[in-house]
Symmetry: C2
């Protein structure tokens, strides 16, 4: 297909240096290939990779164009690595022609699964990441809209419908975690800030007290909170280490007194916090 380039990138090429090109190739969005590929690459922390995500490779022609690109990278650097979740055999076959190590993240496991189930995979190959039915889409859309409406205690409307109410001092990670739970799981999630005004009383803030059993608290370290707050309001009292320490101590006392489960967000990603909340609130089996 492209002989000139092929020979230009032949085996006599000088020892390659620099970053190794890595391709995440998918017939869908590329998210799975990217996630699993990165999980594998993380085991080689001293290597330098140049990452490329290539979604929607679902034709032989598309694969051929990509193979030409990979071969150019092979000619100019260390041998590329290709992670793929492409399902159609002719497209996969085309990808094997690239001058690269091909790691097929699905193919081999499909054979294992056929063995476990004692049956062969359906010819119409499975789609995933699909909306599925309209109902699921509605649930997701409703959840995102609910999250926007109830961000930072802005609204108390229909708070009784919330699957989870996340409570925490300002800047502990309430908003991104809320949005992730809504988008990824279609859950109705409200969040409510714990401010100075909420601490004189003994219990939970009045607005969320009726839903105590659905509350989940966040905390963090004073240093981390101070860093995050400095980002928003540099050198303010609000961002001072003393103020952060005070608010976090009060919040943690409140969680303990009211038996609200909580977690420290300082070393956790949004995905990890969401998974802990789901498990702790028994929102998935």
């Amino acid at each position: 297909m492209d002989d000139q380039r092929r020979s230009a990138g032949g085996a006599t090429h000088a020892a390659p240096t620099g970053a190794r090109s890595v391709y995440f190739v998918s017939d869908g969005t590329g998210i799975t290939a990217e996630t699993l590929g990165n999980a594998l690459l993380a085991n080689f922390p001293t290597q330098v990779f140049r990452r490329h995500t290539v979604p929607f490779v679902d034709t032989v022609e598309g694969a051929r164009t990509l193979v030409a690109e990979i071969d150019r990278a092979a000619a100019n650097g260390p041998g590329p690595v290709v992670f793929t979740t492409v399902k159609a055999p002719p497209v996969r076959e085309e990808l094997t022609r690239a001058r690269a190590a091909l790691i097929d993240l699905l193919g081999g496991h499909l054979v294992e699964l056929e063995g476990a189930l004692g049956t062969t995979a359906s010819e119409q190959l499975g789609r995933y990441h699909g909306v599925g039915d309209l109902e699921q889409y509605f649930a997701r859309m409703r959840a995102v809209e609910y999250a926007i409406e109830h961000d930072d205690g802005q609204s108390h409307r229909a708070l009784e419908l919330a699957d989870v109410v996340i409570i925490a001092p300002s800047r502990c990670g309430k908003t991104p975690t809320t949005m992730y739970l809504a988008l990824q799981y279609g859950l109705l999630v409200a969040n409510y800030p714990l401010t100075e005004d909420d601490f004189p009383t003994d219990g939970l803030p009045r607005a969320v007290a009726p839903y105590a059993e659905r509350c989940f608290g966040l905390t963090t370290t004073p240093l981390r909170l101070s860093q995050v707050r400095h980002e928003r309001r540099p050198s303010s009292e609000y961002a001072s280490l003393a103020q952060c320490r005070l608010e976090l101590r009060r919040a943690e006392d409140l969680y303990r007194r009211t038996r609200v489960p909580f977690l420290n967000s300082s070393t956790k990603s949004v995905e990890e916090m969401s998974a802990v909340i789901l498990q702790s609130m028994k929102l998935r089996d």
Copy 2:
């Protein structure tokens, strides 16, 4: 460890019927195991599965408890299938004791990758789904807050900072797509509704016209839009097929006239739309 249960679930058990238990087992959030496992299961559309996601299995004790649960499922139904992304060898080893087909989604590929890179994997096994550094967390948080502020044309503040401005008639999927791009990629995304008022003129709505090259349009099918709008306002003029057809035709005419790239959201998931937008706007390499 649990001999009584083990023998109760022995090989003499009557031919199992009903749903087959499937476990997605991870030492992290379980998202990768779930996504890839479901992609594989989608190839067996006639089978019935009972799915369980088990995150944070990172100790031998945790694995042992889970193995007991899997063995109970094995005693009461068709042979379970376990998809795992657990990395620590002793924990993986423990999982192999379960009376189930174990599909190790990472282990084999790690060996392939070692071959491709000509080196061995680091002993401190890679973490993924991590926040990484504070900067990345800030970017994500900022992006979600920006998306909330700019949802549905609510604010024009700092619109010049937007990486993407999604435009579409009401209920075409702007909000969830916006939020996904913000959360997943840390992009600044605004969205702007195309209403009746926006069509008399020749070009884009005045608020977004200065950012024409960053606009991306959504459309859908009249039937789908009508279904989605009925959900919000049943039997309204707004939800009528005629009104939906009219608004979508006008929107598509506008996209073509102003050379705004657009896509039809009717058969696409939020993830797929986001991937198309990223690619089309060249927001990832």
